[in-house]
């Protein structure tokens, strides 16, 4: 039975995702999609969208997508596939087909400004850790900490490392102490109304608070998210900033390290923002370090499983993907896998705990700081 085209829905979808019409079903997307299986096939989803026949079954599985963006990064016609996924999620939300856990996550963001359930006590402890290390009077750059680090001492170590490295480069470093989630996860839940309200409030709070010309993040998700609604200030991930500081000679990498490392490209850095060579330049700027690439790297990098809300929703795919990625890292023979994203770090570190490997997981700035020493 041939499919009946739903012209109404087709028109609607084409309006919000105009590139939809450019797909000619080559199948590159589903080949590289890390979660393609009998229930989830992005190539088929795009076809169904073109015909306006997206249905309840699609509403159920659309939540597994980690929005890694490999599909659209490799699509020969630059179809905005991730955008389509978000649109379908909004539709699924309206039809009330979504994982119940989303309610929990949204309530947590509403009541605590973070999806993890971190409380005022955690925020207070975090602030106590950093109040002596930062300078919020006339800073050159202001760090926007990922809300995941509020209750995670290991991630706080990365922030401390960043402060040290930037200070070595002669910068005055401040920090945004509002400690609110950037709103990235809300966007992936398809709840537009709450996203609007939350990010409007956050934008005003940040603009009133931050007086520096540059905001630097440790999470590419924060960078990606803040860039959407913060205007008048430059927002970068630390990898871009440090790369620039090394190249302009402001940061001298003069210590050696005899070690083999591999680098895990965070999807939101490599695929969504095309920041691919910067971290590699930073790594190879350290004399003695050997960088080995994993089987899937750069735009083809295999997602750690955290994206698209996966890390908060704990979907069936998120843990599997992180284990798969860690295995790839082990296969390179490197002693350390470096990454530049709070989510990627957490996913790989947790996978490492369960798989009990000899590999060490480190954040790139943590590694750099450990090499530079004091």
């Amino acid at each position: 039975m041939p499919v009946t085209v739903n012209f109404g829905l087709r028109e609607e979808l084409l309006k919000v995702v105009p590139t939809l019409s450019l797909c000619y079903q080559c199948g590159t997307c589903s080949t590289y999609c890390p979660i393609t299986d009998e229930s989830y096939n992005i190539r088929l989803l795009v076809k169904k969208a073109q015909l306006g026949v997206v249905d309840n079954r699609d509403f159920k599985v659309i939540w597994d997508c980690v929005t890694c963006g490999t599909c659209q990064a490799l699509c020969p016609n630059n179809v905005e596939i991730v955008n389509l996924v978000e649109v379908i999620r909004t539709m699924a939300m309206k039809s009330k087909v979504f994982p119940t856990k989303i309610n929990e996550v949204l309530w947590k963001i509403y009541e605590n400004q973070n999806p993890w359930g971190y409380t005022v006590t955690d925020k207070r402890r975090f602030t106590a850790q950093f109040s002596g290390l930062i300078n919020n009077e006339n800073p050159d750059v202001v760090i926007y900490p990922c809300c995941l680090s509020v209750g995670d001492p290991r991630l706080q170590r990365h922030i401390k490392a960043l402060i040290k490295v930037l200070t070595k480069a002669g910068l005055k470093v401040g920090m945004y102490m509002g400690l609110s989630c950037c709103g990235d996860i809300i966007e992936h839940t398809g709840n537009k109304a709450f996203y609007e309200e939350y990010t409007t409030k956050l934008r005003d709070a940040i603009m009133n608070n931050v007086k520096a010309p540059v905001i630097v993040t440790l999470s590419p998700h924060c960078e990606y998210s803040l860039r959407k609604y913060l205007k008048g200030v430059k927002i970068v991930h630390y990898v871009e900033l440090i790369d620039e500081l090394i190249r302009t000679g402001k940061l001298k990498v003069d210590k050696k390290a005899d070690i083999t490392v591999t680098y895990h490209d965070p999807c939101y850095l490599s695929k969504h923002q095309k920041v691919i060579e910067e971290p590699r330049r930073v790594i190879t700027s350290i004399p003695g370090v050997r960088l080995v690439e994993m089987e899937h790297s750069r735009e083809k990098s295999l997602c750690c499983g955290a994206g698209g809300g996966g890390i908060a929703l704990e979907t069936r795919v998120s843990t599997e993907l992180s284990k798969r990625r860690l295995k790839e890292a082990i296969n390179t023979g490197a002693s350390v896998v470096l990454t530049a994203c709070t989510y990627c770090f957490r996913m790989l570190e947790d996978a490492n705990k369960v798989m009990r490997t000899n590999l060490k997981v480190m954040d790139l700035v943590e590694f750099l700081d450990s090499v530079l020493g004091d």
Binding site: K101, N103, W107, V120, A193
Partner: protein
């Protein structure tokens, strides 16, 4: 065909317990700097009510006894899907204990009338007496089932629910109208519809009653009407952990732990 009438949900707004400050000089509890939230168990109660409405019909009405600023929280409840709301607010109510609270809420429920069910959270996170739900039921002369985890079925004249008890559960059939108090965490409260919230904030008219509307006098409520009184308050230092790191080989650590804990 079961058709439920009014489903009245009691909602309390509570300060987050860890943000409460205790003033050792005046020996009073300072709630002013704490952020308020809908009492967590009441969210579970409201979620249950909304699910019942979806299945059996009826009108979900939120009922609260508190100060005027609670209206923003009540509106979140409306945005979750409640149909209407009543706030009992009166200066005379200050200092009311659980006995008075149950009396006032029962009077309001009587005034709203035409109800099949009264649904509450098992207890509030501030007072946590858990006395108000059975108290309300006794004032109204209706049966109460506490620590309900889910509704199994409803018939014309009764409702069948699952109740959590130590080590297991009971399935209990109770005649309606009845009161159900819902266990904390038994369901996932839906997140409010923010478009409906925006409507509620500008268009929704909250019904506000004072004690006179309920036929109560000042002597029956507040400090005067309460049967318990607080004579002293003190802070229990949240337990400070030792945070002592024990180092050494696994064998050394094991021996040290066994020694310190007296395990042998």
């Amino acid at each position: 065909m079961v058709a439920l009438k009014n489903i009245i949900v009691a909602m309390k707004v509570t300060p987050k317990p860890e943000e409460i400050r205790f003033d050792p000089v005046t020996k009073t509890v300072d709630r002013s700097k704490a952020t308020n939230e809908i009492n967590p168990a009441d969210k579970n109660a409201l979620e249950l009510a909304l699910q019942l409405k979806e299945k059996y019909g009826g009108k979900v009405i939120i009922l609260s006894m508190g100060p005027p600023f609670w209206d923003q929280f009540i509106k979140m409840g409306i945005a979750m899907g409640a149909d209407d709301a009543v706030l009992v607010s009166d200066r005379a109510l200050g200092g009311s204990d659980a006995f008075v609270t149950s009396k006032v809420l029962a009077a309001a429920i009587k005034k709203i009338g035409d109800y099949s069910l009264v649904i509450t959270g098992e207890e509030s996170e501030d007072g946590s007496t858990g006395q108000v739900p059975p108290g309300i039921a006794e004032w109204l002369g209706i049966p109460a089932v506490t620590y309900v985890s889910q509704v199994v079925d409803a018939t014309e004249d009764s409702i069948i629910v699952r109740r959590t008890i130590k080590g297991g559960y009971e399935i209990v059939k109770v005649k309606i109208p009845a009161l159900l108090s819902v266990e904390l965490g038994v369901n996932t409260p839906r997140f409010p519809d923010f478009e409906r919230l925006q409507w509620a904030q500008s268009e929704f008219k909250l019904t506000i009653w004072g004690i006179k509307n309920l036929g109560l006098t000042e002597d029956e409520v507040g400090f005067k009407g309460s049967l318990t009184a607080v004579t002293e308050l003190r802070e229990l230092r949240p337990r400070e952990r030792l945070r002592q790191f024990i180092e050494g080989s696994p064998e050394e650590i094991a021996r040290e732990l066994i020694k310190r804990l007296g395990l042998k």
